[in-house]
Amino acid sequence: MVLDGGPEYPVTTDLSDAAAGSLALAEEPIAFDVEAIRADFPILERMVDGSPLIYLDSANSSQKPRVVVEAIEDHYLNHNANVARAMHVLGAEATEAFEGARAQLGQFINARSSEEVVFTKNASEALNLCAYTLGASLRPGDEIVISVMEHHSNIVPWQLLAQRTGAVLRWFDVTDEGRLDLDKAAAEGLVNERTKIVSVAYVSNVLGTINPISQIAALGHAVGATLVVDASQAVPQLAVNVADLGADLVAFTGHKMVGPTGIGVLWGRYDLLAVLPPFLGGGEMIEVVTMAGSTYAPPPHRFEAGTPPIAQAVGLAAAAQYLSAIGMDQITAHEHDITAYALEGLRGLRGLKVLGPDQPVARGGAVSFTLTTPDGQPIHPHDVSHLLDSRGIAVRGGHHCARPLHERFGVQSSTRASFYLYTTRAEIDALIEGLEYTSAFFGGLR
């Protein structure tokens, strides 16, 4: 029972009508025009040290279209107040905007209801929330299964959980091609009756590999395990449908999908969320607080202690709307085209080796590679990215928060170029040219 002063949200939003609305949009696709899209992103007109910016680091953080920035600005300038507690017009507007954003995000990933959408500060917090709440029922000897291709944020929370509970952490290996090694997992009985949690990435942030989530869901569910999916690299590039995916919990972040920083999302099956204990304690997540103890709000608010990222939610809703208007299928097709073009170009470079799938099949728009000089001396990714930066080309060099995966491939680090809806073939050409120059420079040829 909710008492006075408790949440006053429009508690349930049935998303079936809204979903039908987005279907109507999809029936009339606007032709994908990368130049028109680029015009929505003012930062892409920037010059870097005399060269036009070539931003190939979207898997790290995407750029923002004007509509997202304007939505945040409009919220702060015209509607700002705290949510769910202020009894005035602005409070009502802010609450409506925040809960409206929840509905918008739910629709974007085809959730059954907006109550399945929990706002967090980022994907890492969403994954920590999963580890903390699912972990409440773990016992020593229970097993948690992840994979060697995970981002650190889908490794460390599970290591901490294993340390706390005495559970055992195990993982899927990858094949030399950078796919999850399901045969090896089957042979060694990786997923078994002791497995309580399986947590894997939908799309690898290093290799670009798209993992077979429904197959993994079947493996996990056959033994009664809960499947957590880190969809941080998937939601920006693919039409993710949580109703069909097979996952029980799905985490992703706002800033990689043209939204603001400071907000992430955890989607969960409602019946699962309903039985999970709270994560962080504080205002908003409670029902009744007495000095002797408290009762907690139902999901999603149970998991949202304190003032939430309100303006960020408004911005993220605008981002989801922006991507939907272009069409996620069109964005996927564009990324596929650009990635295929890039892989072809990179294959032509001597001394360049792509980590992971080098064909544009079941992979997203992130390509990591190592590079040597013409005489075979390795060039460190810091040096590669610095040389490219001097030509206005932004890539990432390092282990991309996936050190175990680099170890698996026997390299210390790599350079990663990652693409998005605004990436052009001309930018890929500039990357290839920049890499040729880099190789020659460190080879002592320039």
Binding site: Q377, H380, P381, H382, D383, H386, L387, D389, S390, G397, G398, H399, R403, H406, Q412, S413, F441, F442, G444
Partner: protein, 147 residues
């Protein structure tokens, strides 16, 4: 400043053939330093004879700046009084934190002055300091072990 000016020939030379590379015996302290953002690593040993830095030996993985800087550091500190080495560390650190505004003393820092340009690239300062920080740490450990 163009990036090519950052990669001075001295730096590339040290990177291509590192001086004093490899871990050697004897030693009084060994440290392992990591740059967590890029994964660059150095394992470094210091051997003291009295107050003299008799040897600095190391295994390292990393970018040209971190490798060359470590190589130059060993040239500068081996065979000298430990106070001299720690003084050079302070001078090198000041140069790195000077955003390119500090005129280094070439008589003291020798090949180390080639890194003056690195100070203009904040993301690379940590690379240049990796080996130096490891040296300072290792020296501190030899001193706390002997006291």
């Amino acid at each position: 400043m163009k990036v090519e000016d950052l990669y001075q020939e001295i730096i590339l030379d040290h990177y291509r053939s590192k001086h004093h590379s490899g871990l050697r015996e004897p030693y009084e302290a060994e440290v392992h330093h990591v740059n967590p953002t890029c994964g660059d690593e150095v394992w470094l040993r210091v051997h003291m004879v009295g107050d003299t830095v008799s040897d600095v030996s190391y295994e390292s993985m990393g970018c040209s700046i971190s490798q060359a800087s470590t190589s130059v550091m060993t040239d500068l500190v081996i065979g000298h009084d430990v106070a001299h080495g720690l003084g050079l560390y302070e001078e090198f650190l000041t140069m790195m934190q000077g955003k390119g505004q500090i005129e280094p003393d070439e008589d003291r820092l020798e090949d180390g002055v080639a890194f003056a340009g690195v100070a203009k690239f904040p993301a690379r300062v940590k690379c240049a300091l990796l080996g130096w920080s490891a040296f300072k740490d290792a020296v501190a450990r030899t001193q706390s072990a002997s006291s």
